[in-house]
């Protein structure tokens, strides 16, 4: 099962928070309110981020690591925790496997080695390690700063290692929490919008699970995992994937290496796009299904980062020809010979029959409890505030949690004399991704796209605020105005991808991906900057 292990309430009651690769102040403002309540109560916040973001301004200490050195940092912290005798030996022996190998793995990562590789002062690494390990309750929260690397999976595993090392998981106030970027990203994964999973995270290669679905639908489902997004683009490149149905995404502007992505999408035999806006992707589609807005023009459920399933209700009729997603999909199914009825509650009850972790969540109960947190196995089950409590049971229920052998590797897009600056990308408070959902709204904080550079680099390159420069990577070039930002140090630059119509940032970004899951290395591009 994939999801944050803790409830929002827990971040308000924890003692130590490592906010790693996340500018939650701007990108997860609602979650950050819960985090602020925790700070007010006395929690210590450590912000681990290459930039001193607005989130980092709230932190006890900001650790400004070099891009792509997260594993070096976490392994150094781990060694420090172990050598200082702060590891939770009892928990390690009781609930984990592979500790000895892990100890050997992190052994070379002395504080000095960690500082040399990450740039973070040894004293800062030491303080974070000690505070995290000795806190009564501690959490690690992360976002795309951890996952948008070619080492995405190992980055996440390295954080899990820290939690296993200290026993900071499976208890109230201690946990591991990826922050979700949209109101319902969690729900999408829960419902099986993953290459290898059926609803409720049941593996497609598990025959028993799959047959349950076969019986329900009266068909035989493929027994093999599918493609993730990067696989799909590779398959398009090979000509193996010829038709694509895109729901609520704008890959023309959100994919890394935009030039290549656009060419591949335009080369398809059939492109179907279902969206509430006529996006750049939709404009290239053969068929466009105008869709109702999920938040207020349709019935159903959303699931947030704390795994809470909540009812969403229709308050407006969609404009023009736009229709609810469910109605569109059911019509499509009917044309394909399946007589599905577009009834949201009936559909939800089907989920409850097929996904054990949702079984207890009737509409009536969701209403009564203002949402329930999965897993919720039956109508008497209150839902789970936090996950992995089983690791503390005696004996451990289910398998023990393994330490992962995580190896530090620098980003693939190397810095050279020709491409001497590291570009990282991210988001700002007022904007959302490619701007499809936010660009139409007025915001007093909007200042358009810029290439943010440190004051030192601006001086060296003779750049002034607002001056337009050409930014070139190994894949493409864009022109953007300069913004001088104290939050950056020399060599580090920053852009968003909120304004693709004026500055197509993803023309620059690397198409390197993590082979395990396909996430692209948006966070590490090598560029040069020249006067335009």
């Amino acid at each position: 099962m994939g999801g944050g292990t803790s409830s929002y309430q827990e971040i308000e009651e924890t003692d130590c928070i490592l906010l790693w690769g996340s500018n939650a102040r701007e990108t997860h403002p609602i979650f950050f309110h819960h985090l602020l309540a925790g700070l007010k109560r006395g929690a210590k916040l450590y912000a681990i981020d290459p930039r001193r973001t607005t989130s980092a301004q709230w932190a006890e200490v900001w650790a400004g690591l070099d891009i792509g050195t997260d594993i070096a940092l976490s392994n150094t912290m781990a060694r420090e925790i172990i050598t200082s005798g702060l590891a939770n030996q009892e928990f390690i022996e009781h609930a984990t496997t592979g500790f000895d190998a892990y100890r050997t793995l992190v052994e070379p990562w002395t504080l000095a080695a960690g500082e040399a590789e990450t740039g973070v002062p040894a004293a800062v690494i030491r303080e974070m390690a000690h505070t995290y390990a000795t806190a009564k309750r501690a959490m690690i929260c992360w976002t795309l700063g951890i996952t948008e690397h070619h080492t995405a999976v190992h980055n996440v595993m390295s954080l899990i290692n820290l939690a296993l090392l200290t026993g900071h998981v499976g208890r109230w106030g201690s946990g591991l929490n990826p922050l979700r970027g949209q109101n319902n990203v969690q729900g999408g994964g829960d419902m099986g919008a993953l290459p290898d999973r059926l609803p409720g995270f049941q593996h497609v290669e598990n025959d028993e699970a799959r047959r349950k679905f076969d019986r329900c639908y009266g068909v035989t489902l493929p027994a093999k995992r599918g493609w993730h997004l990067s696989d799909m683009f590779n398959a398009m490149g090979r000509g193996d994937l010829r038709a694509l149905y895109v729901i609520g995404e704008n890959p023309v502007q959100s994919e890394a290496d935009q030039h290549r992505a656009t060419q591949l999408l335009e080369g398809l035999d059939l492109l179907v796009v279902q969206d509430i806006f006529l996006t750049e992707t939709a404009q290239r589609a053969d068929v466009v299904f105008p869709a109702a807005a999920g938040a207020f023009e349709s019935e159903g459920t959303f699931t947030n980062s704390e795994r809470r399933v909540q009812r969403v209700r229709k308050t407006l009729n969609p404009p023009g020809e736009a229709r609810e997603d469910l109605a569109i999909i059911c019509d499509l199914a009917r044309r394909l010979g399946h007589d599905w009825v577009p009834d949201p509650e009936a559909m939800w009850n089907e989920v409850r029959r097929l996904s054990p972790m949702h079984a207890g969540m009737s509409y009536a109960r969701l209403e009564q409890h203002s949402g329930l947190q999965w897993p919720c196995y039956d109508e008497q089950h209150p839902g789970e505030l936090f996950l992995h409590g089983r690791l503390w049971e005696r004996p451990v229920r289910g398998p023990r949690a393994p330490f992962s052998m995580v190896i530090h590797e620098l980003p693939l897009d190397e810095l050279t004399v020709d491409y001497p600056y590291r570009l990282t990308t991210g988001r700002r408070l007022a904007e959302y991704n490619t701007g499809v959902q936010t660009g139409a709204y007025h915001s007093p904080t909007r200042r358009g796209e810029t290439i943010d550079v440190s004051p030192e680099d601006a001086r060296r390159l003779g750049l002034e605020e607002g001056q337009r420069v050409r930014v070139t990577s190994r894949r493409g070039a864009v022109v953007a105005p300069v913004h001088i930002d104290q939050a950056l140090r020399p060599g580090l630059t920053f852009m968003t991808f909120h304004f693709p119509d004026s500055v197509a940032t993803n023309m620059l970004t690397s198409d390197a991906t993590d082979p395990r899951v396909g996430t692209a290395e948006f966070k590490a591009t090598a560029i040069r900057i020249e006067h335009a």
Partner: protein, 628 residues
Amino acid sequence: MDLHIVGAEATAAERAAVDRLLGPPPTGWQGAARDIARDGRTAIGGRQVTGDRDLLLPAFHAVQDAIGWISHGALNYVCTRLSVPPAEAWGVVTFYHLLATESRPTAVAHVCDDIACRLHGAERVCRELEARLGHAVHRSPCLGQCDRGSAALVTRAGANPERFVISPLTSAEAVVDALKGIDTPKDWSPLPAADEMKRGDETKRGDQPSGWSASTVSGATLLRRMGRSNPSSLASYREHGGYVALARAIEIGPAAVIAEVSAAKLLGRGGAAFPTGRKWEAVAREPATPHYVVCNADESEPGTFKDRVLMEQDPFAVIEAMAICGLATGAGRGFIYIRGEYPESERAIGAAIAQARAAGLLGSSVAGSGYAFEIEIRRGGGAYICGEETALFNSIEGKRGEPRSKPPFPAQTGVFGKPTVVNNVETLVNVLDILIDGGAEWAKIGTAGSAGTRLFCLSGHVARPGLYEIECGQTLGHAIDLAGGVPGGRGLQAVLLGGAAGTFVGPDALDMPLSFEGARAANATLGSGVIMVFDETADLPDTLARIAQFFRDESCGQCVPCRVGTVRQEELLRGRDRGSGIGDQGRVLLSELGQAMRDASICGLGQTAASAIESAYAILPSLKGTGS
């Protein structure tokens, strides 16, 4: 914090002023030159920085003192140093009258035009000064110099900033000279030679142009050191009985100190009359730590000057009493919050603290007792509301001085959210005699419901304005007689008891006993001890309009009934056709406004903003109805 520092930068002089207070900035993130090897990799924030938020107001005072006003650049620098969002800091800096956010002359005069000074021609002086000096002159609410006639507070910014009071202000010339930098008698020379003063010596007292007057009771009294001991000498204080009470407190220990204070039935002298012993006991038994002592020296009630006289004439008594309070309630740290209009009090208390500290009477082991106690002075910024205890806490914490909702009460959640004893200056000083005499013995002075003596601030139309210590239960008429009665053989029109937040009484109230129960029986209040006398020639409608203006100025704006009600009240009184009164309809409206403010304001300011005005209409036939 979200620090969106944009635009204006501080000048070197502004930075230097802030750095003198806070020390040099430790990193580039706090305003030092950016050192990329350090600042590019780490930054300290969170509580380690925001923990200094309480230095916000002191930092603004530092800039104001050095430069004369607080520019956007200076504000930004202070915010960078203390990690406070500029928008929030702007809310703080604009809250306080004495802090300027627009450029103005380095030397300015704040000239009192409040109710007592108006009786002595303050309006005429103000107009003349405004015509001659323009925006170097600012009208001020009561400066607490009502025993001396009209007054002005002069501030001159610079490397060696000056703040002093001119009082009595007999002509505009003195202010003009002061602003030019011509030496003028700065402040009133407080001390006649000690041997010239004798307690109860009415003749001598009458010879003083102004100042305190001694007691009319025998035995231990609050003012016994006045004019005898040298207020700037610890040795002199000790010669006159100083630090005997502290020694006694150390000897008997915290629980017994509280028992004595409780046995004395001492009630708070700031206006609310809460039992002091109960307050101390509540704080002493709170498990949360640390505990704090706050001495409320933000004496701003118009017509009140008793705490100023105590601080200037007997500063060691104030800090000795604070140390005893700290010992009794388990507090290691105390604040004395002195109103910004009292530079002389601040100097006197500051000097006393330094001497006491040097003598080991403050610090890690007070008088060798093992109890630690330190005192820090906090200067107010010119805001009446900060005399309200919870507003005062917010002000110390570097926030706008807006009152908090109660409960929770200060004994549980006071300054910095911790258990706090907050006492008025006079209340604290009483504790010294309670310990020396014993609580039960001390309680024999005064009446059953009002133990002890009280300090009354006699001002207005009396022959000898000043501070009089009177045993509780003596009559109002007796107090006025002590001050020489109404001069010039004129008749008495009214007396204002308790200041702007108090009540007017008429000549028929002279037999009223000056005790809590006596005042209550007469539907009046003694408040902070103001007795302001108006003879038959006084322009009462003018006084009432000034009181209304005072509350409109001083309302913090937090609750609607007060914010709107004080404005409507002033409109009503200013809009009246002079000589014809406000009319019956106006009286109804006035009483409805008063009721709304009493019912729905969260603090005493709104609850009492109509009280003096309503009482004036109730007792004075000349103001009633449509008659003149």
